[in-house]
Symmetry: C2
Subunit: 401 residues, 2 copies
Amino acid sequence: MNCIIAQSGGPTSVINASVYGLVKENERLKIYDNVYGGLNGIQGILEKKIINLSKMSSEQLEIFKNSPSSGLGSCRYKLKNYIENKEEYLKLIEILVSLDIKAFFYVGGNDSMDTTAKLSAFAKEKNIDIKFIGIPKTIDNDLMHTDHTPGFGSAAKFIATSILETYLDSKVYRDNGIFIIETMGRDTGWLAAAGALATLHGKPCADLVYLPEKTFNMVEFLEDVHRIYKEKNHVYIVASEGLRNEDGKFLAESSISTGHDNFGHSQLGGVGQYLKNLIIQSGITKRVKALELSVLQRCAMHCASKIDIEEAIMVGKFALEISIKDSSSGHMVAINRDCTELYSSSPFLIEAKKVANNIKHFPKEWINEKGNNITEEAINYLKPLIDYNYDLLPLYTSFAL
Amino acid sequence: MNCIIAQSGGPTSVINASVYGLVKENERLKIYDNVYGGLNGIQGILEKKIINLSKMSSEQLEIFKNSPSSGLGSCRYKLKNYIENKEEYLKLIEILVSLDIKAFFYVGGNDSMDTTAKLSAFAKEKNIDIKFIGIPKTIDNDLMHTDHTPGFGSAAKFIATSILETYLDSKVYRDNGIFIIETMGRDTGWLAAAGALATLHGKPCADLVYLPEKTFNMVEFLEDVHRIYKEKNHVYIVASEGLRNEDGKFLAESSISTGHDNFGHSQLGGVGQYLKNLIIQSGITKRVKALELSVLQRCAMHCASKIDIEEAIMVGKFALEISIKDSSSGHMVAINRDCTELYSSSPFLIEAKKVANNIKHFPKEWINEKGNNITEEAINYLKPLIDYNYDLLPLYTSFAL
């Protein structure tokens, strides 16, 4: 009796920690003879690209836990409905049955939960004795019904750390300009919001934080930037890549139409670049820098959040444990926040179909009235998810002998 | 009897560690009553923006040591010759004398060493009893007569770490594209070369590494990229921002002429963006990502090299110690590599004017014949400067049950 685990969608720093947790827990509980690993998600399993994770040494497993990015490979493959895609369903089941697999674990986001729900429903209908269980991961933190997702905390920690460090870097001269940092988050503002966690002596580094949940208002933006620049001779701005204007268009997209590279291709400059141009054009100052954190934020394992790693392991372990229960198929492991002050959490099950094809937006009530920062309540939610404790002391602000 | 220290030029992660070393050593040796800190370099000292570092608590000093970026503020101020600028020289000396300052320490790159040499020569000529001593810093590693510069090791470590992590991130799918990472280094290739330090199971992550010391050849570049892409379905490229074509023009500059943003401004896309466009245009693949590490590489203190921090402290301490010797004025503290295998180093003095207005290029003999990577000898030079020990294990390369 065996089980299999595979990864899907975009990588995170701690996605392998969930695989580690599941394999380790099986070593302890000995539920399955072997934990197999499917390479490149469903796509690879359909081609029988499968390895035996139970043959890994303890040392290999520890190293694997600390390796960022989907160590089993990933895919961007969305399973169609059974009616449209009968052959694939049957082929997959055939492969799983031939390996005596009783449980299939899929580590992924909402597309993967859609696959989990579909396969589970199919197995139940056809009386196939295989359970399909989802394990959450996404740096975007956009899955419904879970307090947060493994992967988010580490991305948030890297963002906050980089903001503190670049904030200091952007302030060393007498005449400092404007610094813009662009985070991921095409649909939701969770990652950009994490930028508000960077503080120096208790004060936030970022003056302005913009999330996609609030329509971007160019006039108000320039007013705010101008006011702060006049006051402090420095502005630090955090912007999500997903910012949209009143027409619902991505800001980054709106520059495509006229921006062309030297080969005549239109070029997507990114939100940071867009805002930089906007500020320069407005005449506030020409000293504007824009930095795109890009994929660094989803793979900077060297800066991972300890709690995030622990919870990624926890959801993997829990998935293994509950897979002996009949009722677990078609469910995803979710995280409940038991306590925020002395932070603690525990896993529970939620129907995968309730998570699939849904997006958990950053709550509008956690965005301030002006729409240019987040509230204290949001900070309290975010803070425990990163073990961010970075006490720094630049001296250039004081000058008295 | 007092001394003063100030910082100049671009920040690094460990520039404050040199100030820390100097203050700590003075606590031990009690050479000066007070170590003053000049804010924003010479520029701030001329405005009497000076603080007393000897009043900092031990705890504050430790935090200061761990703070990236010039904690005393910086300036981009190049002192003119005495003849053109008599008043400024006299004003500076007047301020220093009024504070009973006997030694002036300037932490910076080759411009700062030019300032150090000029002020020292002036003081000697006028029989003023103040010594001017340089302390090296620059992530670029481009100062002559020192084995390397404090600041470089930490930047190199962040670059190597980010390359390993983004390498893993860029390989998770079945069809992987081409990844380009752009490092700083407008004149020299030291930082890009550090990219070759990123290895996985002993093999380098980067397929191609391009330095400004070698003229960029577009045809050979595309040939190499095409060959490797066909072979591995993936190419990882490290490129210095300072790459130039046969006409001696920066690649990034050559795209200015036709690239315009949506405000009609010409836009400097960066080398990464330029190479990305080149590959797409060549038809090799459209799946190309370019990442610019930008200022992150000079302020990522959370990923600093231990040896770099230690050596930054060492040069600060040594500067303090030798400042009691008359002959020390007009010199910079340099680093000698005593042993590469069991790495050890020691400080020594070099005339500041020999460092000023000079650039130490990456040796041509350390670039391979094809000009697309560095040699083993270069790796051996670079390796000890970062305490990079990152053992990772992705599994997607193997598939056997």
